[in-house]
């Protein structure tokens, strides 16, 4: 069973994807059933495996591609961190998307590619070799494109083109780094030992930056972030997928893998690569926040906020200390929960009230209290207000920075929190304290599927912060990963 589970958990998204493509657009009940069945099964399997991995069980599925080159799906603590996030958010996003689209056009195509994206994300999280990671990473690129271009109008097609332009050039760079590394060291499996230590240091340095640039496109590291704000024209569930469930996370997760499981922190430290990467991440954090401040379109503001927030993960990983790592890894989950809440809410506001711009927000809090309430909780979390999720990540990152003797990082964290407050608090102020002009019919927060997911994820933003000390919280899980990594 331990050899089958990884493949099985992949198939809980892959099979629904393939089936949904062949369901007629009009058979929406069948489609919903297949989709939810896959998502629920997946969450169940993830829970089973979390229990197993906590007890030290190893789950592996292996297929030989070429002699020595394996397609390897392996469940370790780090893969489960990402997998559990994407599995749970997939379920939420599916429920949301079903209500969001109602009886729209081309929905079988949409949900098919959506499930395919999640299957690719599952592969990314379970990848046990560099080549496996690349295979699913590219599958993610390709299956996301039809979603970005889904609406088929000129703006969507242009956004899709931009997305591909960035990601496919990025993948060529990533492939160059990957093949160069493997041509020197042989196929690379993700382990905690220095399998690339024998390689010439000069080459290792160049290869590291090739890998980071290749992965940095999806992570939206500045200056490789241009596709993300452009992709805002896509429907709200796609934004949730891009910003929280899959795409930017896959990039950040890849950087974490490269740092811990390909190079290893000791080697990177010797090569002197940590501080430059931390500085790049810090610059991205500040730059993204400043750009977010300049946006008046809500979704664009959220997009630049993502540019900034995702780099916390990279920042945490590039400081090589246990506390910073815990903070970065926990933020992988925390940022996902917070950002998806905001996109759910922004999508509901756009659908129900046609609110797209910051200055249209006046008084909406009293019209759609649940939605805006959820948004507010997530925004406060992003700013880093205790006891919410974002506070926990920032706290650990800050402690880690002091530990590693990088006090300047704390300044970045403080500056970013101030900027977060500057671009989120005015939104909350308008929504709750500025009276709304004109009257609006009551009963806007329907259907339930459009509102409940945001409320659920917002509650989690609170809970994972409040209960951070309990086992199986994202923080505790991140600590488990770090324990295992540094013990070896």
């Amino acid at each position: 069973m331990n050899q089958v589970l990884p493949a099985l958990v992949l198939s809980t998204s892959l099979i629904p994807a393939l089936v949904i493509f062949f369901i007629k657009d009009t058979q929406q009940h069948l489609r919903t059933f297949v989709n939810l069945a896959g998502a629920v099964t997946k969450v169940a399997l993830v829970i089973v495996m979390m229990d197993g991995v906590a007890r030290g069980v190893l789950y592996e599925t292996r297929l030989t591609l070429l002699p020595g080159l394996d397609l390897l799906l392996r469940v370790d603590a780090l893969s489960l961190l990402f997998l559990s996030l994407s599995a749970f958010l997939w379920l939420l996003t599916t429920i949301y998307a079903i209500s969001y689209f109602g009886r729209g056009r081309h929905l079988s195509r949409f949900f098919g590619f959506f499930s395919l994206c999640v299957a690719a994300t599952t592969g990314v999280s379970l990848a046990g070799t560099l080549i496996t990671f690349f295979i699913f990473y590219e599958l993610l690129t390709l299956s996301t494109w039809p979603l970005v271009a889904h609406r088929g109008d000129a703006a969507s097609i242009a956004a899709g083109r931009r997305y591909l332009g960035y990601t496919l050039v990025g993948s060529a760079v990533l492939l160059l780094g990957l093949v160069w590394l493997e041509s020197l060291s042989g196929p690379v499996e993700f382990t905690f030992t220095g399998q690339v230590a024998e390689v010439d240091p000069g080459a290792l340095q160049v290869i590291f930056w090739l890998l980071i640039v290749g992965l940095g496109v999806k992570t939206a590291l500045v200056p490789l972030h241009g596709w993300l704000p452009a992709a805002m024209v896509a429907p709200a569930p796609v934004s949730a997928l891009l910003h929280a469930v899959a795409v930017v996370k896959a990039g950040a997760f890849g950087i974490v893998r490269v740092i811990y499981d390909v190079y290893g922190t000791a080697l990177l430290h010797d090569l002197g690569l940590g501080i430059p990467l931390a500085m790049l991440a810090a610059f991205t954090i500040i730059f993204g926040s400043v750009r977010a401040l300049q946006q008046t379109d809500i979704k664009r503001r959220l997009a630049y906020s993502t540019v900034s927030q995702v780099s916390y993960i990279v920042l945490g990983a590039s400081m090589f200390g246990p506390f910073a790592t815990v903070g970065g890894l926990a933020h992988l989950v925390h940022q996902g929960l917070m950002k998806i809440t905001m996109f759910f809410a922004a999508g509901a506001l756009a659908e129900r009230l046609r609110v797209h711009d910051v200055d249209q927000l006046d008084g909406v809090g009293w019209v759609m209290p649940w939605t805006v309430g959820a948004f507010s909780v997530a925004a406060l979390g992003m700013i880093g207000l205790p006891p919410m999720a974002g506070f926990i990540s920032k706290w650990y990152l800050g402690v880690g920075a002091f530990q590693g003797g990088q006090a300047w990082v704390v300044l970045v964290l403080v500056g970013s929190s101030l900027l977060n407050a500057m671009y989120f608090l005015p939104l909350l102020y308008r929504a709750w304290f500025v009276p709304r002009v004109g009257t609006t019919a009551p009963g806007l927060e329907r259907p339930l599927g459009l509102v409940a997911p945001a409320v659920v994820s917002a509650s989690l933003v609170l809970l994972v912060g409040l209960l951070a000390a309990t086992p199986y919280s994202p923080l505790a899980w991140a600590a488990l990963i770090v324990e295992r990594t540094y013990a070896l």
Partner: protein, 503 residues
């Protein structure tokens, strides 16, 4: 102890049947006229089975040599089947089989009257299939020459099939290139015969020395074959010929026919005359290949007709094949990555075939539905023809060299040997080629997603042909996921030069 029947079956010259079955089918098709359409499915199945049995024989026996009629070289016709031949036989069978299946609903005149296309297509398809297989299992250059001529003539006739003015011009151009190519090949072969008094590959290999005549002969033969493979700068005939033919014929020409002459180049350099390889020569081939990749892709990017895009994509994709020559070395230097380069090149041949066939067959469906293949006709068809667009998209994945696909496996192997051997500019060309391929293919795919008001109504298309295109595309992906199997198979009987580098 195996029984007598079993022994006989094991040693039966099955590879010869891969030539005889389609040859007989071709003759029968001439006799049957338009009713030859009924041969499509049975011959497709039989052909696939023959190819699989021949390949299985290689797995069981290792490399097999058959002396047809019991006459040995230099007098008789000798057949030589190794892993490479077996893989090519199966590739040909898969594509040609799929095309026969697809074509059953094509070329059917509304009135039921005999049309030239309906009459001529089937014999040409079967002759083409037979001559492809003859090339792959032939063991001397004279037989290869004969097979290649039959192949060229079938190919030229297929280009001319629709009989419009531009088809005839394209066919004439193809014929000119091909005949000049044949002439050069024949001249080279004559030079070899004059020096060594044989054209048998095995005998040549053991006798060959790298003197001027041998090098000149090899260069002449290669030039001739390059004209037929349409490698830059001899690519001018390919696009109008491949794009102008009816879709099933385009699939055969682009996926298969150009590979036959390439196969002979591989045989010539890796199995027969590795001694004649110099690094200047291999780098020249690599340089032409690189230019083909970049230039072909740029041309594809500028086309306004779907089939022209796909045809120029072939020009670019053929370029990748020639990168294996510089990567496999030459000029006596040690080349530990030769095996990787060689296998990568052959993988590219194998992966390109089903993907490109899927693209042309999908394009055929589009032409049927829209009435033409101008790119503006593709606007918004993803909703009406999801299977076809999906087939084209999946095939594109392999052509772009993205995972998981056979095209990716090929690119991974070629890139590995390029980077390990320090051939930076070849690596750069391969990566740039991938990005350019994405550019010209997504330019097409983007159009299919565009939403428009009042779209032009499409003619109805049956599901069968669309499914066949999709299956071919899936094949090209499976080749990547299950690449361990063909990889091991290709190593059976691989020549020393393919393992250790040229010369």
């Amino acid at each position: 102890m195996p029984g007598a029947v079993e022994l006989a079956l094991l040693h039966f010259p099955w590879p010869a049947m891969t030539v005889l079955v389609p040859l007989a089918a071709g003759v029968l098709a001439v006799l049957l006229g338009v009713r030859a359409v009924h041969l499509g499915l049975p011959v497709a199945l039989l052909g696939v089975v023959m190819a699989i049995i021949s390949a299985a024989q290689v797995v069981v026996h290792g490399v097999t040599d058959h002396a047809v009629g019991g006459w040995n070289a230099p007098l008789g016709i000798r057949l030589h089947v190794d892993g490479l031949s077996g893989a090519m036989l199966i590739m040909t069978a898969v594509v040609a089989g799929a095309v026969s299946w697809y074509s059953r609903s094509q070329f059917r005149a509304a009135s039921g009257a005999e049309t030239r296309a309906g009459f001529a297509f089937w014999p040409l398809l079967f002759f083409l299939w037979a001559s492809m297989n003859a090339v792959f299992i032939g063991a001397d250059f004279f037989n290869l020459y004969v097979a290649l001529e039959l192949l060229t003539l079938s190919g030229v006739a297929l280009v001319a099939l629709e009989g419009r003015r531009e088809n005839l011009v394209a066919a004439m151009r193809y014929l000119t290139f091909a005949l000049l190519g044949s002439l050069a090949f024949l001249l080279g072969a004559v030079l070899l015969y004059a020096s060594y008094a044989t054209l048998d590959m095995q005998l040549l290999r053991s006798a060959a020395v790298a003197d001027q005549v041998t090098v000149a002969a090899a260069a002449l033969m290669t030039t001739g074959l390059l004209a037929k493979t349409a490698l830059f700068p001899l690519h001018g005939w390919l696009a109008p010929a491949h794009a102008g033919a009816p879709a099933p014929a385009s699939a055969l020409l682009s996926a298969l026919v150009v590979k036959a002459s390439f196969f002979i180049i591989v045989r010539l350099w890796f199995d027969v005359l590795p001694v004649a390889a110099t690094s200047e020569l291999t780098w020249l081939l690599g340089m032409f290949g690189s230019i083909a990749i970049i230039l072909g892709s740029l041309f594809a990017l500028r086309q306004n007709r779907l089939k022209m895009v796909v045809a120029y994509s072939t020009v670019a994709q053929l370029g990748y094949l020639f990168l294996m020559f510089p990567l496999a070395g030459g000029g006596g230097e040690e080349q530990p990555w030769a095996a990787t380069a060689w296998t990568g090149g052959i993988f590219h041949v194998l992966a390109h075939a089903p993907a490109k066939a899927a693209m042309f067959l999908a394009a055929g469906v589009v032409v049927q539905a829209v009435g033409h293949d101008r790119l503006d006709g593709l606007i918004g068809i993803a909703h009406a023809l999801p299977l076809t667009v999906f087939a084209f998209a999946l095939a594109s994945v392999s052509i772009m060299g993205l995972p998981p696909s056979g095209g990716f496996t090929a690119k991974y192997l070629l890139l590995t040997s390029a980077l390990a051997g320090g051939a930076w500019w070849l690596a750069a060309v391969m990566l740039a080629g991938g990005v350019l391929a994405a550019a010209y293919l997504f330019r097409v795919l983007s159009l299919t997603l565009v939403e428009t008001e009042g779209a032009h109504p499409l003619a109805p298309v049956s599901r069968g042909p669309q499914v066949i295109a999709l299956l071919l595309a899936v094949t090209s992906l499976l080749l990547g996921l299950l690449s361990a199997l063909p990889y091991d198979f290709l190593q059976l009987g691989r020549g020393g030069a393919a393992a250790e580098g040229l010369a």
